[in-house]
Structures are given as structure tokens and as C-alpha cells.
């Protein structure tokens, strides 16, 4: 009787531990997504890659300065991609107007899959909005889909020290985002004849995004 009891206890313990810690063996499905965010103002580049003020930290900065007159529109522009067929909403943008060290319009990008999870924040500095708190759909398809909409406007004035001439300073949340170095120069880098230094830039054309980000979800 005693050996049977011991055997039963051992089986129970092993079974319970395996139940908690053993890996799930269900077959996984992985969906991939990518978002290419394009410049949101005019086609004229005022300053190449930098951080903070132009031309600070051109080696690592994710910001570009785009010419834009006071009160002129600031726009979300993107191509979205997903690995499965058809088209649909791959993320939602929430527009936020905030006063930080300068005035900014921010678009928080939250994925549809997984639902509501942050994928990044695009910041449009020296800007303001009357749409704070509203959301919009960011579309994607297996062959890339365009989304464009107004999110704010360039402010007439900004806080002390923020802006010397009207423009859009556009950047991203950096972590997990890649800048498109192939198409746009750093703040110090323009060489004669390089198309990246010519204006106007074809900012609506596929491939001329400013920054990009990818994510995936495993079921």
C-alpha cells in the first residue's frame, strides 16, 4: 500500500508541475505589420536629421525640419502594410495637443492587433490642434495602403527659445523606429548633386517616408 501511495504522490507532483510550466504546443500564426510615416508639412526640407535644435546631434537624431507657414496644416501621412491579404485598419492614431517645453501635436499610434498597444508616438513640434483627443484609422494592406489626414496646424508663436522661423519639427519616439537615411541627409551632410539635399522632396511617393516601424503578433 505504501509504495502505491508514494508512486501516486510522485505522479501527482510531476503532473502538477508539468501543467504549470510545460510549454504550450499549439501551432502559432504570426501576423506582421509595418508603418511608414511620411513628412507632414511642405515638401521643403529646412534641416536634415538632428535632435533638439538644428543641427544638434545629426548622427543619431530622428527629427527633420520641414518648412511650413503659420496656420498651415500639419498632416499625418503614412503607408501601412500587413502580411495577410486584403486591406484594413492596422492601427489607430490618437491626436493630442500638449504644451511641453514647446507646443506639440502628438499622434499616439496604437495597433489593432494586438488591440490598443502602443507602437510609437509621432511628434509634430511648434504645432497646435483643435482635434485633441480624437482618433483616426491608419490603414494597411499586403500591397501598402496610404492614409492622410489633417492633425493640426503650425502655431503663430511658440514658447521662448522654441522657434526662430515657422516650420514643422517632426520626430518619432525613437525606440523601435528607423529613420530613412537613404532619402534624407543629416543636418551637416549635404553634398552637391545628392538628391537628398534638393528641394522639393517627393514626400507623397512610396519610399520617401521619414521613419518606419514594424511589429508582429503571434497567436
Amino acid at each position: 500500500m505504501r509504495p502505491f501511495f508514494i508512486l501516486t504522490v510522485i505522479c501527482a507532483v510531476i503532473g502538477a508541475l508539468a501543467g504549470v510550466y510545460a510549454p504550450r504546443t499549439s501551432e502559432a500564426t504570426i501576423y506582421h505589420f509595418q508603418l511608414l510615416v511620411h513628412p507632414g508639412a511642405s515638401q521643403t526640407l529646412n534641416c536634415g536629421w538632428h535632435d533638439g535644435h538644428c543641427p544638434n546631434n545629426p548622427s543619431a537624431g530622428h527629427a527633420l525640419d520641414w518648412a511650413n507657414s503659420a496656420q498651415y496644416q500639419i498632416n499625418w501621412r503614412s503607408f501601412g502594410w500587413r502580411s495577410f491579404s486584403g486591406s484594413g485598419v492596422i492601427a489607430r492614431g490618437t491626436i493630442k495637443g500638449v504644451r511641453e517645453e514647446c507646443w506639440k501635436v502628438k499622434v499616439e499610434v496604437r495597433s489593432s492587433i494586438p488591440s490598443g498597444v502602443i507602437q510609437g508616438v509621432i511628434s509634430y513640434t511648434h504645432s497646435d490642434t483643435s482635434m485633441s483627443g480624437t482618433t483616426f484609422d491608419i490603414n494597411g494592406s499586403s500591397s501598402y495602403q496610404w492614409t492622410a489626414r489633417a492633425v493640426g496646424y503650425t502655431r503663430e508663436t511658440d514658447e521662448p527659445g522654441c522657434m526662430t522661423a515657422h516650420h514643422l519639427h517632426q520626430t518619432d519616439s525613437v525606440t523601435g523606429w528607423s529613420r530613412n537615411s537613404a532619402k534624407y541627409p543629416t543636418a551637416n551632410e549635404c553634398q552637391p548633386g545628392w538628391e537628398g539635399c534638393d528641394n522639393p522632396h517627393p514626400i507623397y511617393t512610396f519610399g520617401y517616408h521619414q521613419t518606419s516601424h514594424g511589429w508582429y503578433y503571434e497567436f
Binding site: A12, G15, A16, G61, T94, V98, E100, S132, P160
Partner: protein, 249 residues
């Protein structure tokens, strides 16, 4: 003798089968308990699929300036009055290199940061405004990664992730522009100081930091403003209170 032996074998076989059955039962039971979200492994409330509807409804609600706890907040509340320090040409907005100390009486290190938040903001995410040789603004921004139950990353997030900033400003007026619906704002006390809380939008009560929230605190020197998203409200309040712990001073 042969019958006895085979009986013994049958008994042992039955015993092993019973023991294995108990083991399998424990395996399935433990797995179910580990998955059912009860007790210590409480499953977070799922975000409604149409979460954006709650934001767009909130965006339609009235916004107006109001004084709460002696602080004027609202969409057209005035920006800080630096007491004339920034009226002249001696105005600088600096973005110090990552990791460098800002210094001065407005500088701070958060006494509490939620798990996964890097205490050292990236370049471009720290700014200092200096007017007439005096620091009047210190601003730092922190990234908040999303957070899931590690045992089931396909479950609803515990934190949706985002970013928040902390800004301290020298000001002779206690006013700060906040764009949220007026009904989301109310009084709060942070470490004994009067403050304004702008609660986040919580779709169906889901508190994972989907919407913008803010805490504006009255200070002797002016104001501290904490703004952001990505975390439950309780974590956000802990960040504010952490500024007044020994580390945050």
C-alpha cells in the same frame, strides 16, 4: 503460486494506472488553474474592440478653463509667466546630451519609475529653458513599454504603453493649459501639495493608460506638470508622489 504472481501483477498494473491518472489529472488541473485568471493571476479586463469610440465621444464633451485647488487649467489657460526673465534676448532652449546633469533648483530625478521605464531619457527628450541666466523650465520625457502577463502574452495588456513627461517651471501664475474634457479634471493632493488631476479616458473602465492624463502640482517656485499615457492611473500618481521622496528631491 502462478495465480498469486499474476494477481500481484494485476494489482501493480492497476496501481500504476491509478497513479498516472492522478498525475494527468493534476497536470490538467494545474494548467487550467494557471490559465483561468483567478486569484493572484487575475486576468486584465479586455479592451473593447471599439475603444476609439470612447475617445471620440470624450472629444465632443465641453472644454473650458476652471480653477481647481488654486490652479487654472483648461484649453486656453495662460502659459507660465516667467516674471519678465524671458522678455529680453537672453533666451536659450537647450537639449543637453543624454545622461548629463541639468542642475539648478528645478532639476529632479524621479523617485519612482514604473517597471521597464528607463530612468535616462533619450537625447531630445530632456530640455532646459534658460532666460537671463536663470533656468525657468526643466522637461524630461520617458518611454513606457507595454506590459503583458508573461505567461500569456496573447492576453489583454496590463499597460498599453506610451510616454509621459515631467516638467518643472518657474512661474508667477499658477495656470497650465490642459486640453482634456472639463469633467475629467478634479482636485488631488500630491505629497501634501494642492494639485489638479486630469483623469484618463477608460473605455468600459479599462485602466491601462489608453488616454492622456495629467497632474499639475502647485509649487513655491511655480508648477510641476506630469502629462502622458500608457500606465494605469495609480502608477501615474505614484510617479507624481515619487518626485517628493528623498530621491526625487
Amino acid at each position: 503460486m502462478g495465480i498469486r504472481k499474476s494477481r500481484r501483477l494485476i494489482y501493480w498494473g492497476a496501481a500504476v494506472i491509478v497513479a498516472l491518472a492522478v498525475g494527468v489529472g493534476c497536470f490538467l488541473g494545474a494548467r487550467t488553474l494557471a490559465d483561468d485568471g483567478s486569484g493572484a493571476t487575475a486576468e486584465p479586463k479586455a479592451l473593447p474592440a471599439d475603444w476609439d469610440r470612447y475617445f471620440n465621444e470624450d472629444a465632443q464633451r465641453p472644454r473650458f478653463n476652471q480653477e481647481i485647488n488654486g490652479i487654472l487649467v483648461g484649453p486656453t489657460a495662460p502659459t507660465p509667466d516667467y516674471g519678465g526673465l524671458c522678455d529680453g534676448p537672453d533666451v536659450e532652449l537647450l537639449y543637453p546630451p543624454a545622461g548629463s546633469k541639468v542642475g539648478g533648483d528645478l532639476d529632479f530625478e524621479p523617485g519612482y519609475l514604473p517597471e521597464g521605464v528607463d530612468a535616462h531619457p533619450q537625447p531630445d527628450h530632456v530640455a532646459v529653458r534658460k532666460c537671463s541666466g536663470t533656468i525657468v523650465t526643466v522637461w524630461k520625457e520617458y518611454q513606457v513599454p507595454s506590459k503583458f502577463d508573461q505567461r500569456d502574452p496573447t492576453s489583454a495588456p496590463l499597460w498599453s504603453g506610451g510616454e509621459f513627461s515631467i516638467m518643472r517651471e518657474r512661474s508667477t501664475v499658477r495656470a497650465f493649459p490642459l486640453m482634456g474634457a472639463a469633467e475629467r479634471m478634479g482636485p488631488i493632493t500630491i505629497a501634501g501639495r494642492p494639485a489638479v488631476l486630469m483623469r484618463p479616458v477608460m473605455p468600459e473602465g479599462v485602466d491601462i493608460g489608453m488616454g492622456d492624463m495629467a497632474i499639475v502640482i502647485a509649487e513655491d517656485f511655480g508648477l510641476t506638470a506630469i502629462q502622458g499615457s500608457g500606465l494605469p492611473l495609480s502608477e501615474f500618481i505614484k510617479i507624481a508622489e515619487g518626485l517628493y521622496s528623498e530621491v526625487g528631491q
